[in-house]
């Protein structure tokens, strides 16, 4: 339990008198789907306007849109990686593995394109640019090195969503993140089993005493992913 991070949220925000109006607002967004309601829902995301961007640095932003950009950055990375795996698979992949990685590539491309569509719709002008992957350290010709990289990306993805979920303020976005993270966990389990059958949730990744998967703070996730991205990413305001 020692790894669990203290909540950044204010408990008072979730007391009962406020609870009903929040739910009503969410309802009107989905039932009415008016631009006005959408803008209202996102009004909590506007506090990143005065974030100063350093030249050459991609600032993911603050509030909910910061978390969405954070997820979008990671999905861009994963989608680019699997696109390479799919397009030029390692010579020692089996045909079943090629088929599965083609499916994983589609899942990650869908995640990427979904975030792009959702951010552009809900927070116009706040989406981060297309990132340039740097996969120089990965030997795409060999199954073992591709699997090792895939394991890194998938476990990191799970830890990223597990650590960032608490920063989301809009329930609908939390549900979306939850719907994606379990698919990332399925990918992680699959690639781990390809490396060593039975390692899908072994003690190196799931705490044997608590039965908990790992969670990482956004800045730590970005630090781990930075070596695979040419642009410098700044996650210091994500969720804030």
């Amino acid at each position: 339990m020692s790894k669990i991070i203290t909540s950044g949220g204010d408990e008072a925000d979730f007391t009962k008198p406020l609870y009903v109006p929040i739910k009503r607002r969410s309802f009107f967004m989905y039932a009415g789907a008016t631009a006005g309601a959408t803008a209202l829902l996102l009004s909590g995301c506007d506090d990143d306007d005065d974030v100063v961007s350093t030249p050459g640095t991609v600032n993911l932003g603050a509030g909910d849109v910061g978390v969405l950009n954070f997820a979008y950055a990671l999905e861009q990375l994963e989608a680019a990686f699997y696109d390479r795996v799919k397009t030029s698979p390692a010579s020692d992949f089996t045909s079943a593995e090629k088929d599965y990685f083609t499916q994983v590539a589609a899942h990650e491309a869908i995640h990427r394109d979904f975030f792009k569509a959702a951010i552009n719709r809900d927070a116009p002008g706040k989406i981060i640019a297309n990132l340039t992957p740097n996969f120089d350290s990965i030997d795409f010709t060999k199954r073992a090195t591709v699997l090792a990289a895939a394991r890194t990306f998938e476990d990191l993805g799970v830890q990223a969503y597990n650590g960032a979920g608490k920063y989301l303020k809009t329930p609908a976005y939390l549900v979306i993140a939850g719907q994606i993270v379990s698919v990332e966990a399925r990918h992680a389990a699959y690639v781990r089993d390809l490396i060593s059958n039975g390692s899908f949730a072994d003690d190196s990744i799931v705490d044997p005493l608590t039965g908990l998967d790992k969670a990482l703070e956004p800045v730590d996730v970005i630090a781990a992913a930075q070596g695979f991205i040419k642009e410098k990413l700044d996650a210091s305001n994500v969720g804030k």
């Binding site: 009503r24 969410s26 869908i110 719907q179 993270v181 379990s182 966990a185 799931v206 969670a215």
Partner: protein, 270 residues
Amino acid sequence: MNIFRIIEQLSEVDSDVLGRFDSRRAVFKTLGDTAKKGALAAAPVFVASLFQKAYGQTTAPSVIDVLNYALTLELLEEDFYTKMIAAGQVPTGAPAAAIALIKKHESAHVTLLTNTVKALNGTPVTGKKFDPAKFPADYTTQLAFAQALEDTGVRAYKGQAGNLMGKTAGSTNLLQVALQIHSVEARHAAHIRTMRAQAPWIPAADSNLPAPLGPVYTGAIPESNVTQSGVNLTSQLGATYSANDAAASFDEILTMAEVLDASRAGGLVV
């Protein structure tokens, strides 16, 4: 106004919208009757009263309720794997090691959730068991039940995340803990699926399988769903994706009422 569509979309935001109504059947029966009578003029009034009933008072489950619901599922899973190991039909080697690892995690989840409920001065549920009368005699069917339990668990945790937003026990963020259990259940589900020679993720066609599996993948939002947050993943992303890839790339929620329905986990627990 398509009330079914509204309820479907609303359930994306509020996972327990259906639980807020008296019962799903009652709601849909009343809607059907209203339509039959052609009383369209009365429909807005009916819908308004429906949502007044659902949202007029705060009926969201308490944190203790959510944790006890999760604990019920973990107790069910723990007991199922205890029975599976005791039945002695799991092949030695990799299969036995995998089942033992999963059982270890479910026991850890039971302990963690029990202690958390106690720490919040609640009363943890106990004694929830897998119905012995439903326990399969053969290993192949045991694995199918394991898949049903794991994929249900994944959907169940997802359905409660919103009720844990901002909730803490001391310095522990309960939402994050739930997410950390949730992704482990997904790892289990993926491995069990591969033990059954299935894809680790959920293809669109799974909801057509016979029980115990098929009902697990149905619901107000079935696993075959390809629309997320109003975006159709097959036609509105600027690229072409198959319905199967679109469905598999997002897991869906189940509400508390759906999980506890007799066709799913509710039919397996005693």
